[in-house]
């Protein structure tokens, strides 16, 4: 089938299947999946200048489906998402500005690429190690809790940060938390996302769990809601530059809508540590993809 905006001929079923696959991952792990969807889209024939913008558009639609499903399951903390967005948007902008500065200095692609690989590998190894510990604690101590965090030393530190205003987040099970800690978290992950040119779901999800102490299921749902806003914003800016083929995005989204529901519903059958254990594979895959791109 011809997609006249991007000027390509692609089998729509392959696009829908790509969307389905990324949708399952997104719904389950609370990530946009851009790091995986991008290379897949390029591989099926979407021109490179349309990959990022079109992916953001499809990500917006897909995250709406997942976020609504998570909302029905009680996994979305709107207050937390709203506060994180306040930090994320300027953070992304700062990261993008930093990239422009780095371009003037030298070989930005390799510097960013290697930083990306280091960060992704560290997140992957840490999450795998922590979730393995948590699963072992759960098994040996027979803890009757759904949510066990293997490494919780960062959580009290973030909660000891008590500059007013403080806010109550009942959905996340937090009695009092400093608003600035959440905004700062959003700013840091936004900065990294802008610097690395990604949506940042795989950065925010571990931050929410390990630093802020949000239950994994709520972190997944809340992150998806945040993706709806940030990817929607990205869709507008990329569309203005002519980098969005909405027909390709709609085609991918038909598959993604089913995949996202499957992924989001499947979280009900896995414990928090199990979700994190499976999640740890994603950053490693992304790191390998970047290494392949850099031809290291």
């Amino acid at each position: 089938m011809e997609f006249p905006i991007a000027g390509v001929v692609i089998n729509p079923f392959i696009l829908a299947l790509t969307g389905f696959f990324v949708g399952v991952l997104g719904g389950f792990f609370g990530v946009g999946g851009g790091f995986l969807a991008g290379p897949l889209m390029f591989w099926v024939g979407v021109p490179i200048n349309f990959v990022v913008g079109t992916d953001l558009a499809h990500m917006t639609g897909k995250s709406i489906v997942s976020a609504r499903t998570h909302r029905a399951l009680g996994h979305v903390d709107f207050r937390l998402a709203g506060l994180m967005i306040i930090g994320t948007i300027p953070g992304v902008e700062l990261g993008a500005q930093l990239i422009e500065r780095l371009k003037d200095v030298g070989n930005v692609e390799e510097v960013v690429g290697i930083s990306y690989v280091v960060i992704l590998t560290a997140i992957g190894i840490f999450t795998a190690w922590e979730s393995f510990r948590a699963l072992r604690v759960k098994r040996t101590d027979q803890l009757d809790v759904h949510e066990v965090v293997g490494v919780d030393s960062l959580i009290p530190r973030s909660r000891s940060f008590r500059i007013p205003p403080l806010i109550r987040l009942p959905v996340s099970g937090m009695e009092e938390v400093c608003v600035w800690a959440i905004i700062l978290g959003g700013l840091v992950t936004g900065l990294l996302a802008g610097l690395l040119g990604v949506g940042g779901g795989f950065l925010r999800m571990p931050l929410m769990v390990y630093v802020l102490g949000i239950p994994t299921h709520v972190a997944v749902g809340t992150d998806l809601f945040e993706i709806v806003i940030s990817a929607g914003f990205g869709t507008i800016t990329h569309a203005l530059k002519g980098n969005v083929d909405v027909l390709i995005a709609l085609t991918m989204h038909t598959g993604a809508a089913i995949g996202a529901q499957i992924g989001a519903n499947a979280t009900r059958y896995f414990s928090g540590p199990a979700i994190r254990m499976l999640f740890s594979i994603l950053p490693i895959i992304a790191a390998v993809l970047v290494l392949l791109k850099l031809q290291v």
Binding site: M1, P4, I5, P12, A57, H58, T60, G61, K62, S63, I64, V65, R68, T69, L135, K138, R139, H146, G232, T235, I236, A239, L240, G242, V244, V246, L247, A249, L250, T251, H253, T254, A257, I258, Q261, I262, N265, R268, Y269, F270, S271, A274, M277, L278
Partner: protein, 89 residues
């Protein structure tokens, strides 16, 4: 305790109905989505191409509205279908 059981929370009794609902979802939803999609292509394709080239601001807003609209529509359609079938309350 086996590794698999350790990963899954419990042998949830609603697991089988969920698989059944997803299978039904694919059977009913697939043709409906294909039909909807062909309609979009038949009626909106040329219009979208022309606004993409002539009115980028309008195109960016329309693109976002279309994807958001499709997201809400498909989610609502699936939920409605599942409620009608009796697999979601």
């Amino acid at each position: 305790m086996s590794g698999r059981k350790n990963l899954l929370t419990q042998s949830d009794p609603s697991f089988k109905p969920m698989l059944r609902s997803l299978a039904l979802e694919l059977v009913i939803y697939g043709p409906l989505v294909t039909l909807y999609f062909l309609l979009i292509f038949a009626f909106a394709r040329d219009l979208l191409v022309s606004i993409y080239h002539e009115m980028p601001v309008v195109y960016s807003i329309v693109a976002l509205l279309m994807i958001v609209g499709q997201g809400v529509l498909l989610e609502a359609l699936t939920s409605w279908l599942l409620r009608k079938i009796g697999l979601r309350h």
